[in-house]
């Protein structure tokens, strides 16, 4: 493996293709990035009731997102501590204890029964076969080191030394709010529509992460859908217009987005979902409420963004969360969930759902062409000659301005590769095994 400084020269806008195709680099990523970073594991609305669980993924490890009897959410490794069997074989369900199908060890998250979530509680033949000589306390399920519930989104890290989640996301948090908060400006208030789309794509997992960070330049590849028009207001195009859109990079953290700069006054209402008059009325109403609820407070709005390393989200149209789970250097599993205001009227939820599904996911008329780009680029980066070449990320180097309201953020015009440079600069820091101290900015 070539040195990281050679693979990524972010300031020059150079990234060697091998990072999208080399298996050794991939193995390092799993350790250095997925073993340390804060990762998105799910949404609390996937486990609404006590004892509910949802099987998720962190890097290449299967994990169980579960809510115990006390209502607390835990994330545990989905692998038995005895001989590794996968404990949860269903996508979701409701269990008091997790019992292994192999030899029957059972684990509990119930705070009444155990001292720590995932503790080993039942061992068949404990008295007779083990003669009581097994230290159950030390053979529980591996638990993540830290967990954080941010407005319903659940994040976890294996690294006990990782900085707190809010420090890790920095002021990118505000843009996460713009997806998670109620359209009327109240905090939180979104839920995931039932069902998680999961699909395999022969693409390196960073291709979409980079794309979602704010690559407006690739819009040309969506011309076919723009010509046909699938937007919620009819006519050409695929979305309702967004004014004043810029690219913002959190240059020390690797996150980035396309959206608006922070502002203190609600811009004038621009009609949305006009193909559905009832629904349009809802958006007009929540706009009025937003003006009242937010007053002169700072606010942001975004279209699309990525939180390093592999979670991206649409904030407005559509409104989704997507994760790129690494499978190998040249394959990933995409997951997507769709968000709506939980108290919105049924027609509003339905029109959003229909629109999101025709836009996103493998059946999405927009996204189907994205996957074509990512798989094509991954495949064409595997050739022996190709591997050694650099990708070009030189658009707009040196043409940024700081954003005073957002710590460590810089703004560019809509079309720039600044956000991708920030992303790969962060990637290089993780890959070099830099300490959290050197990686965490102080403002």
């Amino acid at each position: 493996m070539r040195p990281i400084e050679e693979l990524v020269q972010a300031d020059q806008g150079l990234v060697r293709r091998a990072i999208f195709s080399d298996e050794d680099i991939f193995k390092q990523e799993i350790k250095q990035i997925f073993g340390r970073a804060w990762l998105f594991v799910g949404h609390e609305s996937l486990v609404p009731n006590p004892d509910d669980y949802f099987v998720s993924q962190m890097g290449t490890d299967s994990v169980i997102l579960t809510r115990n009897r006390q209502g607390q959410i835990q994330v545990l490794l989905n692998s038995c501590s005895h001989r590794g069997m996968k404990l949860c074989r269903y996508d979701h369900g409701n269990n008091r204890t997790f019992t292994c199908p192999y030899h029957g060890w059972s684990f509990s998250t119930d705070g009444q029964l155990v001292e720590r979530p995932g503790e080993l509680v039942g061992v068949p033949g404990f008295a007779k076969n083990y003669m009581g000589e097994l230290d159950k306390k030390s053979w529980g399920l591996k638990s993540v080191a830290q967990i954080h519930n941010y407005k319903g989104t659940i994040w976890a890290t294996w690294d006990p030394n990782a900085p707190p989640f809010e420090e890790y996301v920095g002021d990118m948090r505000l843009y996460l709010d713009s997806a998670l908060d109620h359209r009327d400006g109240r905090e939180g208030g979104s839920e995931v529509i039932g069902g998680v789309q999961k699909w395999r794509v022969k693409s390196n997992w960073k291709m979409p992460a980079e794309n979602f960070i704010g690559d407006l330049y690739h819009d040309i590849s969506h011309r076919s859908v723009d010509v046909v028009g699938i937007g919620p207001s009819g006519g050409r195009g695929r979305r309702d217009a967004m004014q004043g859109r810029v690219a913002i990079a959190f240059k020390d953290l690797g996150h980035g987005l396309l959206g608006n700069l922070p502002h203190y006054e609600e811009p004038d209402y621009s009609p949305m979902y006009t193909a559905y008059p009832e629904v349009e009325r809802y958006y007009r109403e929540v706009h009025e409420k937003r003006i009242q609820n937010l007053g002169n407070n700072m606010r942001v709005k975004h279209r699309v963004g990525t939180i390093f390393p592999n979670m991206s989200f649409h904030g407005w149209q559509p409104r989704t969360i997507t994760v790129f789970h690494p499978v190998s250097a040249t394959e990933m599993e995409m997951w997507r969930m769709y968000l709506v205001d939980s108290d919105a009227p049924e027609e509003v939820k339905e029109s959003a759902r229909h629109y999101f599904l025709r836009y996103s996911g493998p059946g999405g008329m927009t996204e189907s062409d994205d996957m074509e780009n990512w798989t094509g680029a991954t495949a064409a980066s595997q050739g022996d000659i190709a591997q050694d070449l650099y990708f070009n990320y030189q658009m707009g180097i040196g043409h940024t301005k700081p954003v005073p309201e957002l710590r460590g953020a810089v703004v560019s015009h809509e079309f720039t590769e600044e956000n991708a440079r920030a992303y790969y600069r962060r990637w290089a820091q993780f890959m070099q095994g830099s300490s959290w101290e050197t990686m965490t900015p102080t403002y």
Binding site: R89, Y90, D91, H92, G93, I193, G194, G195, V196, Q197, K198, W199, R200, V201, K202, S203, S221, R223, S224, V225, V227, V228, G229, I230, E333, M337, Y338, E350, R353, H354, L357, R358, G361, P362, G363, M365, E367, S368, D369, M371, E372, N373, T375
Partner: protein, 190 residues
Amino acid sequence: MTNAKIETSQPEVAYMDAGIELWWNVQNFLFAEADLLDRRCFNEWLEILHPDITYRMPLARNIRRDQIKQSEYTQPGETAWFDEGFQTLSQRVAQINTGIHWAEEPASRVSHLVSNVRVQVPANTVGSPEEVKVHSRFLIYQNRLQTETVLFVGKRADVLRRHEGRWKVLERTIYLDQNVLLAKALTTFF
């Protein structure tokens, strides 16, 4: 036959197997439909869809055996691979026809194999029915570019209705036998 709930546009009535002639006609209808798709005659395919069609492909999930009936497949109102009507289907055809929909350019080579066709009519039918329920299996082979090959296998539950003298597809629910979709995109019709 699938265990999943099958919606019809009718209030619940008892159904019985159709006679051989109707079965033969409906089966030919499905084979002709498959042929239209495989010959890429998408505009003609749209003509055999009812203007009020609901076209839905729910997600399949791994869940406990005792919950299979209720929740193996996502329900109407939940996330799906597809959930749309005539307008979106026509837009999909229009998108392919632009010639710059890169997920279908160059065009895929697709073969729809349709089998296990069962046709049912309301038990109180006298004469020829206006509406039939049709269950079938599909196996769809898709080859794109050089070696990209995908197999889609599953079940379909259709409702066909007579419209202007012809059978048209009024409802189609597609139960794909996959949990994690093993295709990067769904650019063919089912």
